[in-house]
């Protein structure tokens, strides 16, 4: 039955090559912790992706309650945290998951760096990886403001002052992010849009490029 369904789709879409890239490939010995335990360092990339999936899923549930408005943002987070069933867990997953993602990205970057895996022919994938790192830091920075509590507001003020100190274009960057003369309603709306729409879109695009390149080039060989 399943084979028939597969054939029916394959006949029309030629999915065998896609299926091959997705699932039907082998894992070389030197990256498999089942053979060499020290190969667990090769798991950091996969765990990073896992935590990003956690971030996307928990974030989707958070948006069901969150209100991106300075009057209600904090109240909605407080309500979610203290009144909604399992709200503490969902928010906890997103809050701590952000930290875990940063840690995992850091470890994954170090693994790639110290095994020299960015060398030819994988330079482009390294570039995409570094860009992913910065997108994730950007997600961390914009997400920090959204609960609209004291530390969020004052940390963002400092962050925007640092952005404003960029020579020549600093003022423009600040205006673009801040939206008005002060960190206020416009800023919250912009950070929300950047955190929920702009950066995740960039993130998913870069992730796709990251994975397509990895499938095309394979994992770098043993040292």
């Amino acid at each position: 039955m399943l084979a028939k369904l597969y054939d029916w789709i394959d006949e029309r879409l030629d999915i065998t090559p896609m299926w091959r890239d997705l699932a039907d490939h082998e894992v070389p010995e030197h990256v498999n912790p089942a053979y060499h335990f020290s190969a667990f360092v090769y798991c950091f990339g996969g765990l990073t992706f896992f935590t990003i999936v956690i971030q996307i899923l928990s974030g989707m549930f958070l948006v069901m309650y969150y209100v991106p408005d300075i009057d209600r943002a904090w109240d909605s987070v407080f309500y979610l945290q203290n009144k909604v069933a399992y709200g503490q867990i969902v928010r906890g997953m997103h809050h701590w998951g952000a930290s875990v993602t940063i840690v995992m990205v850091f470890l994954h970057t170090l693994r790639v760096f110290f095994t020299g895996a960015y060398k030819k022919p994988r330079e482009l994938n390294w570039i995409v990886g570094v860009l992913l790192f910065f997108v994730i830091l950007g997600l961390g920075f914009t997400g920090y403001l959204l609960p609209w509590d004291m530390k969020a507001l004052f940390a963002t003020k400092v962050g925007l002052q640092i952005a404003a100190s960029v020579p020549f274009i600093g003022g423009w960057i600040q205006t673009l992010l801040q939206g008005s003369d002060v960190v206020g309603a416009q800023t919250l709306a912009r950070f929300f849009a950047i955190h929920v729409f702009f950066l995740p879109a960039v993130l998913l695009g870069l992730l796709a490029a990251h994975f397509i390149m990895i499938r095309r080039q394979g994992i770098s060989g043993p040292l």
Binding site: P17, E26, P28, L47, F50, I54, W74, D149, M150, G218
Partner: protein, 255 residues
């Protein structure tokens, strides 16, 4: 140039020297070496993932994510602190050679050099060697960067006043205070109100709400102060007023 010609990938790459698709290697060519991704490897990966997820969920339940009081831009005494992964940058901007007039060094030049260096790593480190010990410059620079980031992060946590940080962000219950009472009139006519807030909720100084402070302690502190922030002789007036004030604050602090 013929597309794809001359491409040679290392490792388990399946993109060949010559163009054209080569089907995946047959597993029987490498007995006991490679493993099928699906289902063999993925099942193990899922088990590790499940353990990871359980540990992670335990963390989220054991340690509720923090939420401070609602943002109030008027509380200018607040000492800001970014999330932990930006602490090293925050600390860097505290050093005199990277702050003030030289802010551009700490905010742009040093992080910018690190960023560009990271992006261009494959072109800065062009040798064929991949072992860390065989490319000492790249390894050394990265280790230096890691040590600097850890050191700066640690420095910023040591120099931060965590006690005040916990105090300044506390969610304070909104309580109604009888502003027509004699005690409140003394409170607002003295300097108390400037630091401890219109509703005793705390501004530069700490909040009184929910602290359950005894009246005798209020009397004592209002006169003697608590170094370094609470000045001595903050209260100026008669003994009777001091007593009324102390009782008012003690009563309000029980709310």
């Amino acid at each position: 140039m013929h597309r794809g010609k001359g491409m040679k990938f290392v490792g388990d790459s399946r993109v060949p020297k010559n163009s054209g698709f080569v089907p995946p290697k047959d597993y029987s060519e490498y007995p006991g070496k490679t493993e099928a991704f699906l289902p063999n490897f993925l099942l193990k990966e899922w088990m590790v993932g499940a353990v990871f997820l359980v540990g992670f969920l335990v963390l989220t339940m054991a340690e509720p994510s923090p939420l401070e009081a609602e943002a109030d831009p008027t509380k200018s005494g607040y000492i800001p602190l970014p999330d932990w992964y930006f602490l090293f940058l925050y600390q860097l901007l505290k050093y005199p050679y990277a702050a003030g007039h030289y802010k551009v060094i700490g905010a742009i030049i040093i992080p910018g050099l690190a960023l560009v260096g990271l992006l261009l790593a494959p072109w800065l480190d062009r040798g064929p060697e991949r072992r860390p010990l065989k490319r000492p410059v790249a390894t050394g620079l990265m280790l230096l960067a890691i040590v600097s980031v850890f050191y700066l992060t640690w420095e910023s946590t040591v120099s931060h006043d965590w006690k005040q940080a916990a105090e300044q962000g506390k969610i304070v219950k909104k309580v109604s205070i009888d502003k027509n009472s004699k005690g409140y009139k003394i409170y607002s006519s003295q300097s108390c109100v400037n630091c401890h807030g219109q509703n005793l909720e705390g501004q530069v100084g700490p909040s009184f709400i929910g602290k359950n402070i005894p009246a005798s302690l209020v009397e004592q502190v209002a006169v003697k102060g608590i170094p370094p922030k609470m000045p001595a002789n903050a209260f100026k007036g008669s003994k009777k007023d001091l007593k009324t004030l102390a009782e008012f604050i003690a009563k309000s602090s029980k709310k």
